[in-house]
């Protein structure tokens, strides 16, 4: 009896084991030659995973030959692979709300500025790269807004589209300093290379926004001007400014505004000389940036110097109000006039001493050969007396600066390891009476 029981038990074990058909068995079945579908007889049997459960299915009629287990035991589950929550819910494939909002802002900004579609794609790619960085992902909403503006700004600069930071800041109502710091951060993190702003394109874009090209209620007929002529003359004046150190290191927009005003006045000086700069800007519908007055003064100064070299203007006694009338002539001959009215630093000294000598021949020898042609000898002395070196304005009118005196010889011999005397230290400590006075004074607070 016992023997039968043990045998029975043994068979039961085998039976249980065989019921626990696992994946291995399906493979064993596959290995044991081609299967034929019992229903239609085709040999097209494929292994399909239906809801992660392997099945052998006939490809023609859909008959299921074998099925895996519908439930798993604890032992089986130990060998299964874990799927993380973020993968099973598809979290990483979706875009977060912050990124979606940023993408929409980039697209809106591109539409407002009428940028081509290529710009939008580039800006979006930069934004998506930047937002992954911890320095842009974990910051305030204000900075994320500015990041949107920075991506669009970088895209425009790379395609040589003239867009200034001032425009972007005013569109986004952003703080200029914050924009500057985020912009420099973006350039560093994304390792981008941005070419310089082209002034010619900037002139064209900026003048497009001026409302002077048609006469209207606020613009009388004699103030309206042809766009092409004004743009061409403004570009010439801006080029003159960049050759004479007025542009380097300064904001471009005030220079463009001042140049536009001079160009506009010079095209029809008769009626327009009385119109002030402020009135001109109000009519044109742009605001007047504060440095523009200084730029206008500097431009006038340069033009006056050039005017003093033209033979027929020297007679007319041109001053800063009337020089505007002759801008056309000055611009036509500007290369020659610049060369003759300005000199480099060393020839200036030589010509100054030559004037002191009073001889005509030595300035000719001392001056540059290129400048010797233009001026006739009679006017050469006068030329050299008004000539000034072509330097940036900050060197011509230097601001007084306190410079600490150079180290004296005794100071230079300091090694850092000298002995320290007690008396030297006593001067930095308070005595007992001073301490009592101090604590009494503090007690009143």
């Amino acid at each position: 009896m016992l023997k039968l029981c043990t045998v029975h038990f043994f068979f039961l074990n085998i039976l249980i084991k065989s019921l626990n058909l696992s994946q291995f068995d399906l493979q064993v079945f596959k290995m044991s030659g081609q299967r034929k579908c019992p229903d239609c007889g085709s040999s097209e049997i494929v292994e399909d995973a239906h809801y992660a459960q392997n099945q052998l299915v006939c490809a023609d009629c859909g008959f299921i030959l074998t099925e895996g287990l519908l439930t798993t035991t604890f032992q089986d589950e130990e060998h299964l692979q874990e799927v993380t929550y973020s993968r099973s819910t598809g979290q990483n494939e979706q875009l977060s709300r912050c990124k979606l909002r940023g993408i929409k802002r980039v697209q809106d900004l591109c539409k407002v500025l009428y940028l081509p579609a290529v710009f939008e794609d580039t800006a979006l790619s930069y934004f998506q790269r930047a937002i992954e960085h911890p320095s842009f992902h974990l910051v305030s909403l204000e900075k994320k807004e500015i990041l949107v503006g920075c991506c669009v700004f970088v895209t425009c600069r790379q395609h040589n589209w003239p867009l200034t930071m001032g425009t972007i800041c005013s569109l986004l109502y952003a703080d200029k300093e914050l924009f500057a710091s985020v912009y420099l951060c973006v350039l560093k993190e994304l390792e981008l290379d941005v070419p310089a702003l082209s002034l010619t394109d900037l002139v064209k874009t900026h003048l497009n926004s001026f409302k002077l090209f048609q006469s209207s209620a606020s613009v009388p007929a004699k103030f309206a001007e042809d766009k092409e002529k004004m743009v061409a003359r403004t570009i010439q004046i801006v080029e003159l400014a960049s050759e004479t150190w007025l542009v380097t290191g300064r904001h471009p927009i005030p220079i463009v505004t001042a140049a536009a005003y001079l160009a506009w006045q010079s095209l029809q000086p008769v009626g327009r000389l009385t119109c002030t700069f402020a009135r001109f800007c109000k009519m044109a519908g742009t605001d007047l940036p504060p440095p523009a007055h200084l730029r206008l003064k500097e431009l006038n100064d340069i033009l006056l110097r050039m005017a003093s070299q033209l033979a027929w203007l020297r007679v007319l006694n041109v001053d800063k109000k009337t020089v505007v009338k002759h801008i056309g002539d000055l611009l036509q001959h500007r290369h020659f006039l610049l060369r003759s009215s300005f000199s480099s630093g060393d020839t200036e000294d030589q010509s100054a001493t030559a004037v002191g000598d009073g001889s005509v021949s030595s300035p000719q020898a001392a001056g540059c050969s290129a400048q010797a042609e233009g001026c006739h000898p009679g006017g050469k002395q006068k030329c050299s007396s008004v000539r000034r070196p072509l330097l940036p304005p900050c060197l011509i009118n230097p601001r007084k600066r306190l410079r600490t005196a150079a180290l004296s010889p005794s100071d230079q011999a300091i090694t850092g390891d000298e002995a320290i005397s007690d008396s030297e230290i006593e001067q930095y400590l308070r005595s007992q009476e001073e301490m009592q006075e101090f604590s009494k004074a503090q007690a009143w607070h």
């Binding site: 200034t164 930071m165 001032g166 500057a180 912009y183 420099l184 350039l187 290379d193 310089a196 702003l197 050759e243 150190w245 542009v247 380097t248 290191g249 300064r250 904001h251 471009p252 290369h335 610049l338 060369r339 300005f342 000199s343 480099s344 540059c368 072509l390 330097l391 940036p392 900050c394 060197l395 600490t404 150079a406 180290l407 100071d411 230079q412 300091i414 090694t415 850092g416 390891d417 000298e418 320290i420 007690d422 030297e424 230290i425 006593e426 001067q427 930095y428 400590l429 308070r430 001073e434 301490m435 101090f438 604590s439």
Partner: protein, 186 residues
Amino acid sequence: MDADSDVALDILITNVVCVFRTRCHLNLRKIALEGANVIYKRDVGKVLMKLRKPRITATIWSSGKVICTGATSEEEAKFGARRLARTLQKLGFQVIFTDFKVVNVLAVCNMPFEIRLPEFTKNNRPHASYEPELHPAVCYRIKPLRATLQIFSTGSITVTGPNVKAVASAVEQIYPFVFESRKEIL
């Protein structure tokens, strides 16, 4: 004028910043009470102490870390730092002068010619960055020396670096590039 000819450039060191540790806790209130020439900033938790002879301003934290600024050479920085440590010793703290290190050196140098900044930026693209709307100078970084130079159109150059030697070699390195983009006579 050839770039290789020897040109003596005066590099004027305007500021040297150094740090050292006192390896003991400092009672800031006691320093503020017993020290002359001190300003106690209670809200940020530091004391500013100014020395007269090497003109140095020191920021002292209660953890014992001290930062000294205002020296005009590395030796003067150490000179002033040791005097500061001696003053703290006299006030009664168990000060040990350790971990002295010069952290930053700021120097100014003048080139004898003006520089055309847009041209300079174009020729030195990855290292130089010029944004006239933000700052009137070109910012040039030399990564191996960890030095930053600010180059102005007037020829004045401001250099910051980790020590005086790095500053000097930075100026040496930049001279040929700056010479290329100098302003030519019209």
